[in-house]
């Protein structure tokens, strides 16, 4: 705890020297239009209610946080965080509160100044049960926010935790009180503001044509400096293939989810290039440990042992991604040393299954015990071509050691239903991670096995639980990292899931774009600093800051 306070103090000292996120200086030109192809429209642009990626991408341009997480995506203390609406911040001596000093120049896009009362109001909206914000539960540690003066908001915490600064800043986009206070909280979702937002970010909202486009333009008088691009447009397509085709056909400039087989198309086109970047997501084959078959730890380990995951990942992705080695993404946790894995060894896998009594007694190629064949089904989302391909390869790997795995492709609704009601043997799932490693409390600890919890496999190990709890509450970052490392090691060896692959972002972009500031959890974080050289501009870059009548 003392180390945390010390690091907080150091961070505070360093803030005096920290550069504000410099934007308008430098050589990069201003102007141009970025068209982002997207496979799904946004649901809402009211930050407390956003639960989809498109909405988040847009809202992150229009609204600001108090401080922004750094490129390292550190969530412990305030190391790496850069000022946004808050110019600076002071930690209380007991770390139970932080006073954020707002930038006096910050303005809403309607010209009104951003005030501390807006911060207090935003927190109240996020936490109000009538709003039913999907983010409410990740800011429960923020007890309240008080207004010391018009430019100082004091965030009070229920308890000291290593991630309290992250909780107070990353999870909370500040919304304008003067435009929202008169709307009943339960009606916020249906308010005009939710489709026509006013923020304080470097882009301001222009229009939203449902199912077609969302358009924003640079806020030229922004307190953080004008965005380099004039305009950003999200252009929606019905599916990822159609979205990628928009870029290939020159109708869009950027698409974030290119498939491996589309790379040759990009290489053929001299105007396009690919971009690779880590993402905070991984997939796994989860075993339902309530199933008598998978309740046995040794059997689960034998199954993991029987699968050459390196080969599978290479077959499906080539070098585009790598095997997941635990419930975390290596690029986002560089300080975690390699976690020992259950080695691929079909001989040992076979021997383990033999020792458990699973033998091929009738020579049909499938092991059996007491007349019951060693067979199970794997649920796979029909929308994921990667997981389907990998499931087929996995089926073959397991068949070689006498295990019969059937692949059940389901639509997302059906799969969600089976997942929620735990009606499955094994499931090819995936998790989109929050930058905070403590998210595994929601996915693998015993408390998350309750109905409605996200621990679908029903994995329960008190030692793992204790290590995760210690990691999430220890103020010492080194100690915390050590606890996480041990917890990861335990879950890998217990094998309630077979960690399959980490998501690697593969995007296609127009070559005229100068792209900077891609972060693992948000490739769009630096859009305001992307630029287009003046001599490379095309017709749509010439629109300037004009706004067409609605």
């Amino acid at each position: 705890m003392r180390i945390s306070l010390a690091s907080a103090a150091l961070a505070l000292l360093s803030l005096g020297c920290a550069d504000r996120d410099s934007t308008t200086d430098g050589d990069a030109p201003t102007g141009g239009t970025l068209v982002i192809a997207s496979a799904a429209d946004a649901g809402t642009l009211l930050p407390p209610l956003i639960d989809d990626v498109s909405g988040k991408q847009v809202a992150d341009q229009i609204f600001d946080r108090l401080a922004e997480i750094g490129a390292e995506v550190n969530t412990i203390g305030d190391r790496g965080f850069t000022p946004r609406l808050a110019q600076r911040w002071d930690w209380a001596a007991d770390s139970l509160s932080i006073a954020f000093h707002l930038d006096a120049d910050a303005r809403w896009h309607d010209g009104r100044p951003v005030r501390a009362s807006d911060v207090r109001f935003s927190h109240a909206v996020y936490r109000d049960p009538a709003v039913a914000s999907p983010h409410a539960e990740v800011i429960t540690n923020v007890d309240s926010i008080s207004v010391r003066d018009s430019l100082t908001a004091v965030v009070w915490f229920a308890r000291r935790t290593p991630e309290q600064f992250f909780e107070a800043t990353h999870q909370l986009l500040i919304v304008p009180e003067h435009l929202l206070r008169d709307i009943a909280r339960k009606d916020l979702a249906t308010s005009a503001f939710a489709r026509n937002p006013v923020g304080s970010g470097r882009f301001r909202f222009v229009r939203w044509t449902p199912g077609a486009t969302i358009e924003i333009i640079a806020d030229t008088a922004n307190y953080r400096g004008r965005a380099r691009l004039d305009r950003v447009i999200w252009s929606f397509a019905p599916d990822p293939t159609a979205a990628a085709t928009k870029v290939f056909a020159g109708e869009a400039d950027y698409f974030e989810a290119l498939r491996r087989e589309q790379i040759p198309e990009v290489e053929k086109n001299p105007l396009l290039r690919t971009l690779r970047y880590p993402q905070l997501a991984y997939t796994f084959v989860g075993f339902n440990t309530r199933n008598t078959l998978f309740a046995n730890r040794e059997l689960r380990r034998a199954l993991v042992m029987a699968v050459d995951r390196q080969k599978l990942v290479r077959s499906v992705f080539d070098s585009l991604t790598s095997v997941a080695t635990g419930p975390f993404i290596r690029a986002a946790a560089p300080a975690i040393p390699p976690i020992p894995q259950i080695a691929f060894d079909t001989v040992r896998a076979g021997a383990t299954l033999d020792s458990l009594g699973w033998r091929d007694s009738n020579a049909d190629g499938i092991r059996d015990r007491a007349g019951r064949p060693l067979t199970f089904s794997l649920l796979v989302p029909g929308t994921s071509a990667f997981r389907i391909r990998m499931a087929v390869l996995l089926q073959e790997e397991l068949r070689r050691v006498g295990v019969d795995m059937k692949v059940e492709q389901l639509d997302i609704n059906m799969m969600g239903d089976r997942q929620n009601t735990r009606r499955f043997d094994a499931i090819f799932g995936g998790w989109n991670l929050d930058p905070s490693p403590s998210g595994i409390r929601q996915t693998f600890t015993t408390v998350a096995t309750k109905p409605g919890g996200f621990n679908y496999t029903h994995y329960s190990n008190p030692v793992f639980d204790a290590l995760v709890d210690s990691a999430a509450t220890t103020m010492n970052p080194e100690q915390s990292r050590g606890y996480y490392e041990r917890a990861y090691g335990i879950i890998v060896q217990d094998a309630p899931v077979m960690f399959m692959y980490e998501f690697q972002g593969l995007a296609v972009a127009h070559r005229r774009l100068n792209i900077t500031g891609i972060r693992p959890e948000a490739w769009w974080a630096g859009i305001a600093d992307w630029s287009i050289a003046a001599d490379q501009r095309i017709e749509r870059d010439q629109i300037g800051l004009r706004v067409a009548p609605k």
Partner: protein
């Protein structure tokens, strides 16, 4: 005639009520719920999803939900879209004109093309052009709509980039172009989806029209006209075609729902923001009110289409107007 129309309208209302009831129940029996998309996010708890469900009244028994929904429907309120987060009435009002435009263009083109091809084939029965066109129309007749749409998109938007990939207008430049360029842009975007629907429907019409023409060309009144020394073109146009159109008019009533069904896939593939695109997305996201609202609108369109076909048929055939 008016009594007939009124009777048909009442029948149509009954059909729509039945379809809506079935849709209302079936979509709720289907696995998943409107908030299933958040299942990959461990931060959205079951409690939060339950709160959302309660907010929209989806936690109540289905009969209660139906009674409430019916009460709002009769007041002209179609409920609230959970996927688009705005009133279903507004969503439908945006989508319906787009579908009507696409269907109108496709209907006009497909009937014009289908009738012309059918007549051409009939008057040249047994010749090489007849056989060739027969094969071509059979090809399109047997082709799945989504596959043809995909092929059209790949061929004419991607491999030979003559037309835009998706959408109704240029996503970026449209608002900044002058009026004439905006109209051109709309036409440009309309070509592929309209042509896809046209080819699918025209193939059916051509085959019907050919058969109908062949039925009448041997009738006595055609032989009489020919004996009177009328030109072949006049015989076909004034005598044969007029009578051979009657069965094709019946097709109009069938083409309407078929086009609407085809539009679901065609609109989705070309991102045409119409009823088909909307309905597909609404089903996938389990947007209960939007699905039901779309079915109501679709049902009304089908009922009106078949009624229109009956009225046209009655207008074309005086025998049907006799009491």
């Amino acid at each position: 005639m008016w009594a007939y129309i009124a009777r048909r309208l009442v029948q149509g209302l009954a059909v729509i009520a039945l379809v809506v009831t079935a849709t209302f129940v079936l979509i709720r029996l289907a696995p998943g719920d409107p908030f299933a998309a958040t299942l990959d996010s461990p931060t959205v708890s079951a409690e939060t999803r339950a709160r959302w469900s309660a907010h929209y009244g989806f936690d109540r028994p289905v009969p209660v939900q139906f009674a409430r929904y019916f009460a709002t429907i009769v007041q002209g309120d179609f409920g609230y879209s959970t996927s688009q987060r705005r009133p279903v009435g507004d969503v439908l009002a945006d989508a319906l004109p787009n579908t009507l435009l696409l269907m109108f263009v496709a209907l006009v083109l497909s009937f014009a093309l289908g009738i012309a091809l059918g007549v051409f084939q009939a008057v040249r029965r047994g010749t090489a052009p007849d056989r060739l066109l027969g094969s071509v129309t059979l090809f399109f007749y047997s082709m799945p709509d989504f596959w043809l749409a995909l092929m059209m998109m790949l061929t004419f938007a991607y491999w030979i980039p003559l037309f835009p990939v998706t959408g109704m207008v240029d996503a970026v430049m449209y608002p900044y172009w002058p009026f004439w360029r905006q109209m051109l842009d709309r036409l440009h975007h309309l070509v592929l989806p309209a042509l896809t629907l046209t080819l699918l429907t025209a193939a059916v019409i051509a085959r019907y029209q050919r058969a109908a023409m062949l039925d009448v060309v041997h009738d006595e009144y055609v032989r009489t006209a020919r004996a009177k020394g009328l030109a072949e073109r006049a015989i076909v146009r004034r005598h044969a075609l007029r009578n051979a159109l009657l069965p094709v008019i019946t097709l109009f009533g069938l083409a309407f729902p078929a086009l609407l069904g085809g539009a679901v896939f065609v609109e989705r593939i070309f991102s045409w923001p119409g009823m088909g695109f909307l309905t597909f997305n609404a089903i996938m996201t389990r947007d209960y009110h939007l699905v039901t609202g779309s079915v109501i609108v679709g049902g009304v369109m089908v009922v009106v289409g078949s009624l229109l076909a009956d009225v046209l048929y009655a207008a074309a055939d005086p025998r049907l107007r006799r009491p």
